[in-house]
């Protein structure tokens, strides 16, 4: 990060890398190391989601019989997106609380990359890793249910990424609140459950629901995976609305985060827990 010329003692110094790659590398490595070092924790999260799906699927079959297959596509895609959304959201909101508990939050703030960039990179890495989990869960769900959906990477990844972008915005917003108000665990949980109706929102029938986070992206992903529609086959206007809405939530959330971190610094709350 530094210019590399300021040392004047004529002795060996590290050669700083001016790119963002060192940050990306260490954040990604940390996440992967923790996933592998604590497999039980990782596996339990995966199994929880899978068991939840099994309950819905077999419970639904018992109650609704073959009619469950009418909504099965939506359930599978919904679980897939819910996994992505929860990981992206908790990677920011919950993470700020934990970093404050660990005493590492102020160190993240003092990064030469800037606090926002560090948190953004953490969120991005989280989302990338959550794609692996989401995909694993997706194929497990398709295998169990016997309902195989179209998984065109070029279509699904951009749509899911745009869907999750709005969640990252919400995550930034609540991470900002956590900087100032700290113990917000109950609120965080409520917000997590709020993603369920957003993912299942009937956007096809109610146009104005497209303005909500997650809802429109979830709808388009469902269409793409159920009907095998490719990204370029979707109406450009729909993609434009999704992009604008998602980016707007992302920017608004980030702005809230910046405002909150300013307030935390003004009031000496950064790092307090």
């Amino acid at each position: 990060m530094s210019d590399g010329t300021r040392r004047d003692s004529g002795v060996p110094v590290s050669i700083p890398d001016s790119s963002i790659f060192p940050l990306l590398w260490v954040v990604a490595r940390k996440q992967v190391v923790l996933l592998l070092r604590y497999p039980l924790s990782t596996l339990s999260r995966f199994l929880t989601m899978l068991i939840f799906f099994l309950v819905v699927f077999f419970g639904g079959q018992a109650v609704a019989g073959p009619a469950i297959t009418d909504t099965l596509d939506g359930i599978i895609v919904g679980f897939f997106l819910f996994t992505l959304a929860i990981t992206a959201y908790s990677g920011l909101a919950w993470n700020v609380t934990r970093e404050a508990q660990w005493g590492t939050l102020e160190r993240l703030f003092m990064s030469p990359y800037g606090f926002g960039t560090v948190m953004g990179v953490k969120a991005a890495i989280n989302v990338c890793l959550s794609f692996l989990w989401g995909a694993a869960l997706l194929f497990a769900m398709m295998g169990i249910s016997g309902r195989w959906l179209t998984f065109d990477v070029v279509t699904v990844v951009p749509l899911a990424a745009l869907t999750v972008a709005s969640v990252i915005g919400i995550g930034f917003c609540f991470a900002g609140l956590a900087l100032v108000y700290k113990r917000l665990e109950n609120l965080f949980q409520l917000v997590q459950f709020g993603f369920v109706p957003l993912i299942a929102a009937p956007v096809g029938g109610l146009e104005w629901l497209k303005l909500f986070p997650v809802a429109h992206g979830s709808y388009l992903t469902r269409v793409a995976m159920s009907d095998g529609v490719r990204l370029w086959e979707l109406p450009a206007s729909e993609l434009a609305i999704l992009t604008v809405v998602s980016v707007a939530y992302l920017l608004a959330g980030y702005y809230c985060f910046v405002l909150a971190s300013r307030k935390a610094r003004r009031e000496g709350l950064l790092g307090h827990y």
């Binding site: 990060m1 060996p12 030469p112």
Partner: protein
């Protein structure tokens, strides 16, 4: 890792410059002014101690220096860079160990922590792996490099925290209570490391601690804060010199005759008190600025054949100086007024009540007290 004062080293701006820092928390009746017009400069390659009683404004000062608290007024510069207007440039030069053993990731290994914080600072871990090896060796962590931090002792965790702060090349390091909770041996090791960083690597270090031994041991310079203001800003030795007034206690196995008292009053150029107890012993206590007063007293005692039982000398240390500077009874002497040092209003180190001018000790039953004060 190794840096030294090479011939090409140029004088630049001070490593840290603080000018007119002011910060108030809350508003109205609940407003608390944490720091009020604090200014100082710290030269490169020095270790500076930041002292002050609880609530003096140390944490607010350090966090303002690091941009973690936005001040109401004042400017903060590190290596000539304004921390609040160009924080990311300033952070490129700064490392901070703010919460001792707590501010590393306990689920990562020692080496992984070093790599993470190097990357967080912008250094590619692969380019600084040699530096990390040197740090691990230096801090005695080499054989625990692959151990998860959670499994280490508190002292080791603290060392990991310091090592991770130095995981990349920084010019200025802030440390808040770096030796808190450490055993004596580990504390001494850590002090040696801190001193070595400044002496060998030319790192500027600001240390906040309540442990006066640590400050006296490793610091070149001391800043004392009280009620949000700087009450002393001087070199450790200079501060000790200002308050240098050797105290002696001489116990003799007899009652002090009137003639001896008169001789002490006329001949000894020192403040003194004589205390006689039930066992016909007399303790003569006096404060002297040099050796002459001591020899004068001994001469008087010899003239009157008073057998010496015990001689004790008490040298003031940084803790005495600190207590003197932060005394809240309105009789504070400051480093800027050394003339006042002859009449300190300070509690002693062993918890006796504050003494005034003639060093009046507590009077117990059966004791007589005499006092001579020639100044």
């Amino acid at each position: 890792m190794t840096r030294s004062d090479g011939p090409g080293r140029e004088a630049g701006p001070p490593a840290i410059r603080l000018d007119g820092l002011r910060k108030t928390f809350g508003s109205g009746e609940n407003a608390v002014t944490a720091v009020d017009d604090v200014s100082f400069e710290i030269e490169r390659g020095t270790v500076v101690g930041l002292l002050g009683p609880n609530g003096a404004g140390k944490t607010t000062t350090i966090k303002s220096l690091l941009g973690l608290i936005v001040p109401d007024a004042g400017t903060v510069e590190i290596d000539g860079i304004d921390v609040h207007s160009q924080p990311t440039r300033a952070y490129d030069r700064v490392g901070a160990m703010l919460e001792g053993a707590r501010n590393v990731y306990w689920r990562l290994t020692v080496r992984e922590n070093l790599a993470f914080f190097a990357g967080l600072g912008g250094d590619s871990p692969s380019t600084v792996s040699g530096r990390h090896d040197a740090l691990l060796e230096q801090f005695g962590l080499a054989d625990r490099a692959e151990t998860v931090v959670n499994e280490l002792s508190r002292g080791m965790k603290q060392k990991v925290s310091l090592a991770s702060t130095l995981a990349r090349d920084v010019d200025v390091v802030f440390m808040d209570e770096p030796t808190l909770g450490l055993d004596v041996e580990t504390s001494l090791e850590l002090r040696a490391e801190i001193r070595r960083l400044a002496d060998r690597d030319d790192v500027t270090i600001l240390v906040s601690s309540h442990d006066m031994d640590v400050i006296e041991d490793i610091c070149d310079h001391v800043l004392v804060l009280e009620n949000g203001r700087v009450v002393a800003d001087d070199e450790v030795d200079a501060l000790l010199d200002v308050f240098r007034s050797q105290e002696y206690r001489i116990e003799v196995d007899d009652v002090l005759p009137a003639a001896a008292r008169t001789r002490l009053e006329t001949a000894v150029d020192a403040e003194w008190t004589a205390k006689r107890d039930d066992r016909r012993r007399t303790t003569i206590s006096f404060t002297a600025t040099g050796s002459d007063e001591f020899y004068d007293v001994i001469d008087v005692l010899r003239e009157h054949d008073l057998p010496l039982r015990d001689v004790e000398s008490v040298t003031p240390d940084l803790e005495d100086v600190f207590l003197e500077l932060t005394a809240e009874d309105g009789q504070r002497s400051t480093a800027e007024s050394p003339a006042d040092s002859s009449s300190p209003a300070r509690p002693s180190r062993d918890g006796e009540p504050a003494r005034d001018g003639g060093a009046e000790p507590a009077r117990d039953a059966g004791e007589e007290l005499e006092r001579g004060d020639r100044r």
